[in-house]
Symmetry: C2
């Protein structure tokens, strides 16, 4: 296996003479094998190694056992060992992140701290070929774009993944054969629920019934798609530079481009303004395309994360919304209300109750005769509450947002259907158990909220 | 649903006024719904319709029932009806194709015949959104490139697929609601074995456990990937035109391009010579890349389907091999033999029998003391035979090729390990049950055939 890893390192130009490499080291089989292999290669590659262990304080005693193992392992091989203890659960709560995401951020912070301290230049992580297949399958099933389908990259910035070419079995065999006795990863089960489904059920099913080489095939596919993604991205950035102008892009130049480039340029512009693309989905990009296609000065479009897209005199801009923009509209019944800035349409209709009316995420039915006051569509206000379907009693809208982990900067642009302070429907999140239709209902109010 | 289909037709510019549209009509729910919807839209779209039914003569009585239904359905709606009866099983055998593939070819022939007869210009097929998801998943699990991941195209040449936007449930509901009473497709089960696995087991598992919107998400993904594929393809063709020269490509110009373009240019060159890309896999493209990288005049590489890649004075060519090229080499034991033109290496080693020796597709073990005569590696000769593992008795190599559906033009470039006329190993296909190791074996001959 060591030859295979060495040739993969060389093929991807992962390491140069003199590199100081920080190795992420959990003590599990993957990172133990990685550290051991790099240790064996260090004279040949002329590198120095530093191991970094992060205790997430999630798994109690077991985590301390792992920390102890990692420390001893490094002592034996005389590798400088740095360990950190970070309360990832607390961090996740504070930042409104999943504990998986929080753990990832915490680890990178630790790696980068050590990198700075030792004046190092590379971070080596132990992802393997099976991780690669799982990642690609998860991205695929979510309908990800080319970048997602390219999977985990062997080299990204200063991060290298020398074991990506090795299967889990090869790594386990290596550990056994070299008597490394790694600890067994018992990862936070909830956070990796989906990955476990893919790892333990979906991939075995595919191997048995559809394609026994799926892991290898996806690995090779990812290499090719990665090249194709890189090519389009490079081209898009080139054209982006051409049509950039004072923080916006010139609509005329943009319109002449191939749609594949257009989508990527919009993403890049958003990234330049926002710093990343978290929360930005395909449909937002499509909405921007449409806005640009129409090219009417003054037209705006709210995007998630407090961003707004805007056309102004032949240029397209993405801007941060600094001031909270409240909105409130009375709902006419029947009637159609366009929330232009959210790109949503709210439609109300009156029907007779003929049974067979089932709510969907986009359509809610209410008993029209139970509704006394005036219905409005607006964003949240202090003191809003709901009697949520499927829960006991009354809940503050604020608490609902917290429970559902809706980021603070998005809460102001979520439309609510309300009567006074009582909310009937938090669009996309939850609706009330009050005012619902039953067998006595005669007149039905149907409310549809759709993009468009 | 009719509105949805109409807007999908318009969005993809599928139909123009005056089009004469040939509709593939099996009588099943999909094509019945398609024909009915187009019938209802025909005045609005100003088109004329022609239905074509192909009886594959596979399913006996049932197929005639379907033909009858289709005929009656068209009579009622006054749509010109053309039906064909084609013995697909026979055709598959004659052409060495799967019956699924043969059926597809037969249908397209019929559609095109009618198209010619009526002087029409469009062929409408009834693929739906679920077909799309299944296709994409199958391609994905095979590790397909961007084109495969783009799935079925709504428009390709003169073929249009107006129902691609509709799910199977929507179509079934449409048929029921309009009392169309289509026949139930009972397709050749063996041919669609894999698709059925994906349809009936894999997708339901994914919907239940991983992503309930997988069908929609893959549909949207395919639209975006289709654009990206189209963009790269267009760029590659542009550069291909620049570096094309007298049937070859200029190596110097080629080398400057991004690898994503290089791969596609090689594929295009092969397509120009061969007419299609059947049988050409990624590894063949990678081999060509390597050959070009080395750029040594006279270097050659055999490709499947009787093609050869060749470097000649700074140009790269793909050529058809018109004359059969025989080869035969004596195997030295132990030793290494390079079959340069097949890009294969044959390695022989002698080991003591320590048990635990298991054949793989690339490694075979034999009892060295049972082998009397001289071993050679060569291509097939008249009269070759094998005692195939897992089968009774002796088999002609010719029959083995026929059973395994190896196309005739590939048979001459498959290496065999043989003693006289007795073949021990047909590389990639089958090995002998003779000469195998058992508990009495002392000296083991290990033969490895690998790319490289």
């Amino acid at each position: 296996m060591i030859d295979k890893v060495l040739s993969y390192i060389n093929k991807n130009s992962m390491i140069s003479n003199g590199d100081k490499v920080v190795v992420g080291f959990s003590g599990g089989p993957d990172s133990t094998a990685l550290l051991h292999i790099l240790y064996r290669l260090k004279d040949e590659l002329k590198i120095s190694l530093y191991a970094v262990h992060v205790n997430h304080l999630i798994r109690g005693q077991e985590a301390f056992r792992d920390e102890e193992f990692s420390k001893n392992f490094c002592e034996k091989l005389n590798i400088p060992f740095y360990s950190f203890r970070i309360d990832v659960t607390k961090m996740a709560k504070e930042k409104g992140l999943s504990s998986e995401e929080a753990g990832r951020i915490a680890r990178y912070e630790c790696f980068n701290n050590v990198l700075k301290e030792i004046n190092g230049n590379k971070i080596a992580l132990a992802h393997n070929k099976n991780d690669q297949a799982e990642t690609i399958i998860m991205k695929f099933l979510r309908g990800s774009g080319l970048k997602g389908l390219s999977g985990i990259q062997p080299v990204r910035d200063n991060i290298i993944r020398p074991l990506l070419i090795c299967s889990r079995e090869e790594i386990e065999y290596y550990c056994e054969h070299n008597n490394l006795q790694p600890v067994i990863d018992s990862t936070n089960k909830e956070a990796i629920y989906l990955r476990n489904k893919v790892r333990l059920e979906l991939i075995p099913y595919i191997i048995k019934n559809i394609n026994e080489n799926v892991v290898d095939n996806l690995f090779k596919m990812a290499e090719i798609l990665n090249d194709e993604n890189e090519y389009i991205e490079k081209e898009a950035l080139k054209y982006y530079e051409d049509i950039k102008d004072n923080g916006g892009i010139i609509v005329e130049g943009f319109k002449k481009l191939h749609v594949a480039l257009k989508r990527r340029i919009i993403r890049q512009l958003i990234k330049d303004v926002k710093g990343d693309l978290n929360g930005i989905e395909n449909l937002h990009v499509e909405d921007c395309l449409e806005l640009i296609e129409r090219n009417q000065t003054g037209k705006m479009l709210y995007l998630p994360k407090n961003l707004v897209a805007e056309i102004s005199y032949g240029k397209f801009f993405i801007k941060r919304l600094d001031t909270k923009k409240d909105f409130e509209y009375i709902l006419k019944i029947p009637g159609i209300l366009r929330l232009d800035e959210l790109n949503l349409v709210v439609k109300t209709e009156l029907l007779k109750n003929h049974g067979n009316l089932t709510d969907t995420p986009f359509i809610k039915y209410f008993d029209y005769d139970k509704i006394k006051g005036g219905l409005v569509v607006r964003n949240r206000k202090e003191g809003d509450y709901i009697f949520p379907k499927g829960m006991k009693g009354k809940k503050k809208i604020k608490d609902l947002f917290i429970d559902k982990k809706i980021p603070r900067d998005e809460r102001d642009s979520i439309p609510l259907v309300a009567i006074g302070k009582e909310v009937l429907w938090v669009y996309g999140i939850r609706d009330t158990k009050n005012y619902k239709i039953d067998e006595h209902t005669k007149n039905v109010l149907k409310i549809t909220i759709e993009r468009g």
